[in-house]
Subunit: 382 residues, 2 copies
């Protein structure tokens, strides 16, 4: 086994009602001013916890996160100005991936001599100035345990990834009860995003046994529970399994990360504002079909983690797994074609161009993937 | 899923030759004085790394660890006096469980107003004063990723556990190449200790799905690789698998921990100075046979992780698994009876008394375990 670096929040509190423990967290107890960046639909769910923190004498500034996806540079500038003005000791992010990513960057950049525009890329952000707690309210992003944050460069329409250990939260509170109210559509899309994290890590050119453990378990949990949670949002067992799978997916991101699926989806998000999970879900089967020949055995193991019985040949087993992913998507109400998302054939070269720029993920793909290949993949699901 | 707290070193570097990255670790780069507590047999293996650290201008104090097992209070006093005199910025432990535990406590207590005798127990140690890096050279203890350290109280002959997040290393470097020279006997005993960590966590009264993932994977890896590594110490693939399993076992210790096996083994170590892994290995099948009725399904799943095919009844499947553990022990040269270890029937009440005092683990056992039960279990393997 070659050498790999695993980094995660030093403290992860996982489970139903784990949020109740937040007010007594050492990070809170030793802070005076706390900034909470929170997705608007979940403010009610956190109200009691926020009250408890305020009652203990802390100054809390609540900023509702109002943007539809990851913040553009100028939207982030606004958030940053508010954070700089308040100058918190501790930043708490509560929400989906975009909220958590924004909170991570706010904690890192507020009071820092480094500016966010200077740290786009891998390893450029040197340190974080403020304490950071991440609380996911979707099961998909894994951002609560990853060292990655994504902004949208509105000029280039490209997503800009910032990767640094300084973006790892001090603590993550993963409370499946917070995801109960998530509508079926978003449950499905975020769940498929988590599935992508796990599958792209497991079939990655730089896959590693330590991360494989998380990936395979995540794939199994999503395969067994996503449809249940979509059908019945109150199914706490399914919600818990998805929250765990999402955390596992997130733990794959730092050391191994994603590959072609996320690459090809960047343009769908940046240029067409299609939600991140939905874009990945639509692309996943097509990219796996393209990649399959590079590692039939790994792709077959993905299928087996989804409950497919091992067949005589790995390729056949793997194809059954891809069909099962398509079936899961369909049952969860996710469309299977780009046309449904408003993409036409004329858009494909520009989308492929954007994908080719995401070199930090492109290099992870198990099979070489050129611009022509990308266009070819898009065409198979047009 | 109920709430659980996962804590581990913020940074784990895992893999062959990962030790080469140590000199450039931020923890080293930002330290001036570095104390290295190291098991004598591995000093040669680390010499180049130590030279590199010294050449970069750091002051290094090397203390060979010379005790046969966990340090007694007075032995630890000696180590502590040396550490206080040197007053390091960073403590590095290199060795098996006793060395790592000692290094963890040195880092915590050196310069601390709390004394070690005041912090025996759970959660009493409030903070650590020095940076801490753990480098295991056996695959068993899991101490490199756990918040636990054990001292031997020579007056009471009882092991004294100190449990606190302050004992979690800042970084763990887990390099399977460092275990290559470990003799077969110690490979077997430490490997069985790791197996106990995983099985006792999985069959624990407070088992949790998040930890189950580590436990089952660890059981599988040890079952598949322990004999290989015992037969051929140079089998780097088997060594890597065991190092990973040991890490997984260690990750079970903080949130869930062990149960009756470790409980009943405390006296064998404290009173009879039988090595920790050996004592656990001898006890494991007997305690599992006693516990089986409390959770046949869980015990069957342990068996299945060891490669036993699921039978019609969980109890039968579980018993096959216990037989497989006995077979693995035998093939690895581990004795199966207490008599072989120098224990006679007269010793059993005193051993059971010691076990009854380890309440922090006793409460984890899936089946109530009285003093009489303990004596009964010892008798089955006398």
């Amino acid at each position: 086994m070659n050498s790999i670096i695993l980094q995660q929040p030093g403290k992860i509190v996982f489970g139903i009602n784990s949020i109740d423990k937040l007010p007594e967290d050492e990070l809170i107890l030793t802070s005076r001013k706390i900034l909470i960046l929170i997705a608007e639909p979940v403010i009610n769910l956190l109200q009691r916890t926020i009250n408890d923190i305020q009652l203990s004498g802390k100054t809390v500034e609540l900023i509702p996160y109002l943007f539809p996806g990851e913040p553009t540079f100028s939207q982030f500038d606004n958030l940053l100005a508010q954070s700089q003005r308040f100058n918190p000791d501790c930043v708490i992010g509560v929400g989906g991936g975009s909220v958590l990513d924004s909170a991570k960057l706010l904690a890192a950049i507020t009071g820092n001599e480094q500016q966010y525009a200077d740290v786009v890329g891998v390893g450029l952000l040197k340190k974080r100035m403020k304490r950071l707690i991440c609380i996911p309210t979707t099961s998909g992003t894994g951002s609560e345990v990853s060292p990655i944050a994504i902004l949208l460069n509105e000029k280039t329409e490209a997503k800009s990834g910032i990767v640094s250990p300084a973006l790892l939260a001090d603590a993550a509170y993963i409370d499946p009860a917070l995801t109960v109210g998530l509508p079926s559509k978003f449950t499905a899309e975020t769940g498929m995003d988590a599935l992508c994290h796990c599958i792209e890590a497991y079939t990655n050119k730089f896959a590693h046994p330590v991360v494989d453990t998380y990936a395979l378990k995540g794939i199994q949990l999503i395969s067994e529970n996503l449809l249940k949670a979509c059908k019945n949002g109150n199914d706490l067992e399914a919600r818990s399994a998805l929250a765990l799978a999402s955390m596992y997916g997130g733990l794959c991101l730092g050391p191994v990360n994603t590959h072609g699926v996320h690459c090809l989806s960047y343009g769908l998000g940046g240029k067409f504002h299609i939600s991140h999970g939905l874009a990945n879900a639509v692309l996943l089967p097509a990219v796996l079909r393209f990649n399959l020949e590079a590692s039939p055995k790994r792709h077959a193991q993905v299928a087996m983690a989804m409950g497919i019985v091992k067949g005589k040949e790995d390729t056949a087993t793997a194809l059954e797994g891809i069909k099962k992913i398509e079936e899961l998507s369909r049952e969860c109400g996710i469309p299977s074609s780009l046309t449904t998302l408003g993409i036409s054939e004329n858009d494909l070269p520009a989308l492929a161009d954007i994908a080719m720029q995401v070199t930090r993920l492109l290099r992870n793909n198990p099979r070489e993937l050129t611009k022509e290949d990308a266009i070819g993949i898009y065409k198979t699901i047009l």
